[in-house]
Symmetry: C2
Subunit: 182 residues, 2 copies
């Protein structure tokens, strides 16, 4: 009998590991995100995991990089119209579409923070840059900042499992913000 061929694809396995790690952090808490648990969830031996990420900190770093690169990719083309408030509107729109697709929160970042708070510094810089772009492009920078913060708050609450708003209220929020940005 012929066994099903074992497809070896470095990039795909790597991605599977990253996703498994995120899933554990989200469902069982960052503290449960051990290398053993991640390896098991990714369908990989611990040795295999360490082949892809030689050390836990490399795995954590990869989660940060992943998050930042996604952030970049998504917001690349969307805000290039140059029209007033285009950047903050693109951010809100991106938030809405994330929500519609049930995109899970980046719980991996919390695991990173749990083990080494300083590793989130790139995230901070990145968000600061983004806020600068929002403000530079806004008709009312103060209001745009508040809008940005409000969305951030909803995302943070989701990350920490302490969401205070229900689905309808979030829609109401984005509608309200959007209406005032036109």
């Amino acid at each position: 009998m012929t066994n099903p061929p074992v497809v070896r694809d470095k990039a795909k396995t790597r991605q599977r590991i990253l996703e498994a790690a995120e899933a554990i952090a989200r469902r069982e808490g960052p503290a449960a995100m051990s290398l053993d648990a991640v390896a098991a969830a990714a369908g990989v031996s611990k040795g295999g995991l360490l082949y892809h990420f030689p050390g836990k900190s490399k795995l954590l770093q990869a989660m940060v990089d992943e998050y930042l690169s996604r952030f970049d990719t998504v917001l690349e083309g969307e805000a290039r119209t140059g029209r007033p408030n285009a950047v903050i509107l693109a951010y809100i729109q991106h938030f809405i579409s994330e929500r519609e697709r049930n995109t899970p929160p980046p719980s991996g970042l919390l695991a990173v923070f749990a083990e080494d708070p300083d590793m989130l510094a790139p995230v901070q810089r990145h968000e600061r840059n983004f806020l600068n772009r929002i403000r530079a492009n806004a008709t009312d920078p103060e209001f745009a900042t508040v809008a940005f913060l409000a969305i951030q708050a909803v995302r943070s609450a989701e990350l920490l499992n302490t969401q205070v708003l229900v689905e309808g209220e979030i829609t109401q929020l984005t509608d309200w913000l959007t209406a005032r940005l036109h």
Copy 2:
């Protein structure tokens, strides 16, 4: 000069332990908050620590309780005027005064989350109740909600070491919000 008497006071030692735990979580990350480390930082033996908190989860629970009771105490008398927007204004005012006193963020909550995300459920309920009070008391519930969220975002960012706003901008934010709530 008289030395400060070595007073053995259960409540004070308990408090010292709680503060030491918070400090470790804040400075070295939630993952570093082991019982050994907390005991050492609190100037207490491990046995002594376990005398006060029989098990780590009891310590975590205490941190949640502590946080919630402080939340309550602070906002008890402040919002009782019944005047429109009094509740959200009190919240903003409380935020400002916390900031002036350099109150450290409740990093213990992140340690709690790291080990058991569900333990923050009381915090969620609590914040939801508070938001309800804000809205019931607001002239413009939508704006009040956005104001609440904006402050929450700043607090979350501080908690996660990813603060995007500098001191002056935070003052600007609270001024801007306050002005629109009168």
